[in-house]
Amino acid sequence: MHDKQFKKEMLTEGAHAYKAGRMDRRTFLALCGASGVAMNAVLAGDAQAAADHVVMWNWGGQSEECHGSAIGEAFTAKTGKGLKFDTSGPLEGKIKEMVDSGNVTADVADADLFNAVSLGPTGHLESIDYSVVSKEKTLPGYALEYGVSVILYGYAFVYDTEAYGDNPPQNWADFFDVEKYPGMRSLYKWANGSLEAALMADGVAGDALYPLDMDRALAKIKSIKDNSLYWGSGSEAHSMVVNGEVSLGMVWQNRGRNIENDTDGRYKLVNNQAMAMPGAYIVPAGNPAGAAAMEFIATAQEVPAQLALLDCLGMTPSNPEAFGQIPEDQQDYAITSAKNIDKIVYNDPDWWGKNGGDAVNAFLEAIS
């Protein structure tokens, strides 16, 4: 990951030097060849120099293609500006480092809303311009000063129908019940969602979760420690299930459909008590494209973009206007569909923004 970042920075610098005539074409191409990077990635560096593009900082993989088709095309049609990607993953520490170093190369980061709570007040983010971005086109409470939720993802679980087909698990209490449902389970390693699931399993109501009772949650987590594995990325969660390592797997709900397909329906997604997580777009302070970032976010809020993201990535719309237009074949998977919306619970970005660091450490200490 760091190698990738290094190469990208080196090539960006190379592109600047080439444009400015400080480096000849041959050297520049040799540099590209040496780092094994295709030309379009190099052009991203070029784009940053020209600033007639918005650079979206996301997590790579499919999202590059999907963000391009779902948001990028409409954005270009509307503003004439292009869209480029930095796919190195905007973790909180990386955003802080980028802004602190004064070398800000990204305009919009595909992050979590709790990042907006923790990084905003310390001056690392631009405020969202609500004359361009709409507060109505997201769920109430998810339009904050330094970030706005554009999509929702969720913590739900899948179960093995061959193991529990007669009496399938229905909620987090079942998920944590190793007597009734023997076998391994997998949980998210960085605490988010895992803590809430543990509290719900312990009998806390979904709308009374916050502030989280850490001791109670960790005690519940520890009670199934011998029967648990922990994953750190979506693909790891996916492979733990698909390779049959776990019988009950907490997953990001947008992976549910692929898991069902990859296992020929052996594993089934349960969205009851799924924890809706506000995925947010945030803007690093001093971003190169300036106000264009806000227009990009506004484009992502529109219904067609929301539905296209659902279709392409499985990310659930956060714009209430789009809820009614979720297609029939996505009803089971999208957590804000008519079928699911009454069963889900909502994450509190404010609590996580303020307490997330300590919660993650306490969780890591409990499971290791």
Partner: protein
């Protein structure tokens, strides 16, 4: 000029640019880390005090040290026998062995880590075969625990253990062993009293190399440990990227650095470190 060159060897002038570069690019960031560990989030030794306050940090450090020691013992022992075999077989076999060793040396750590999951995972090749022939009823938990981490790390470290040993064994004067046999020592005696002591510098070099590299392991424990084997490197990364406790991360990095330096110092009490790193014993 003459007085100057009498005190400073002119050779220093040639290596001065390199020296300046190393100091600026290497020592600078290290000092920055040390500085961060006593200034973030507030000035003082609060980050270091955490070591005394929290069992968790001690446990993470201890897990790391324990895993590294076990990894080193296995890698160096296996590496020693591999190097021994390579030195004593025919040139042709030796070339095959060296090729295989270097190929595995060059394969990415991610590939090597995930291939262990394929082989020894719950539904992996080994468990599948054993279940099919009826030897076991339940899959054996090789992976996603500390055993898995150790298997992955030992496998990754063996080439690092072999190479310094190979160099050391190849440079031995074989006539010494012949002389020992000639004077009536048995093969075992020759090995324990002549061969092993002569390869000691190589043994120490490979032990140090493997142990120090193991301390920084990140990918293997994260993947093969199933989230339950938390080593210092991964913890530092989480503190940097997720929880933004850079002071804690810097403190742990400083502790690791101090630990490695202390180890080198202890070693230097017992032997000339220059022989370990290829210099002449004086």
């Amino acid at each position: 000029m003459h007085t100057l060159s009498r005190h400073i060897h002119p050779g220093w002038l040639i290596i001065a640019p390199l020296l300046v570069l190393v100091v600026a690019l290497y020592l600078g960031p290290i000092l920055n880390i040390l500085w961060l560990s006593v200034t973030d989030p507030e000035p003082g030794f609060g980050n270091y005090a955490k070591l005394g306050e929290s069992d968790a940090l001690i446990r993470i450090v201890w897990t790391t040290v324990r895993i590294c020691i076990i990894t080193t013992v296995f890698s160096v022992t296996l590496g020693y026998s591999i190097a021994y075999a390579m030195v004593h077989c025919h040139q042709r076999q030796k070339n095959y062995m060296l090729t295989l060793l270097l190929v595995s040396f060059w394969i990415s750590i991610l590939v090597r880590t995930f291939s262990w999951l394929m082989l020894l995972g719950r539904k992996g090749l080994v468990n599948g075969t054993l279940e099919n022939i009826g030897l076991i009823a339940e899959p054996i938990a090789f992976m996603r625990n500390e055993l898995g981490v150790l298997i992955g790390m030992v496998h990754y470290m063996i080439p690092y253990a072999v190479l310094p040993l190979l160099v050391s064994m190849q440079s031995l004067d074989t006539r010494v062993m012949d002389a020992s046999r000639n004077l009536g020592a048995s093969g075992t005696q020759t090995f324990w009293r002549i061969y092993l002591p002569l390869t000691l510098p190589g043994l120490v070099a490979s032990t140090l190399l493997v142990f120090i590299l193991s301390l920084g392991f990140y990918v293997t424990p994260a993947v093969l440990g199933g989230g339950k084997v938390l080593m210092v490197a991964e913890y530092i990364s989480v503190q940097l990227l997720v929880t933004l406790k850079w002071g804690t991360a810097a403190m742990l990095a400083a502790i690791m650095l101090a630990g490695v330096l202390a180890m080198l110092w202890v070693m230097s009490r017992f032997m000339k470190l220059s022989t370990v790193f290829g210099g002449a014993a004086r």
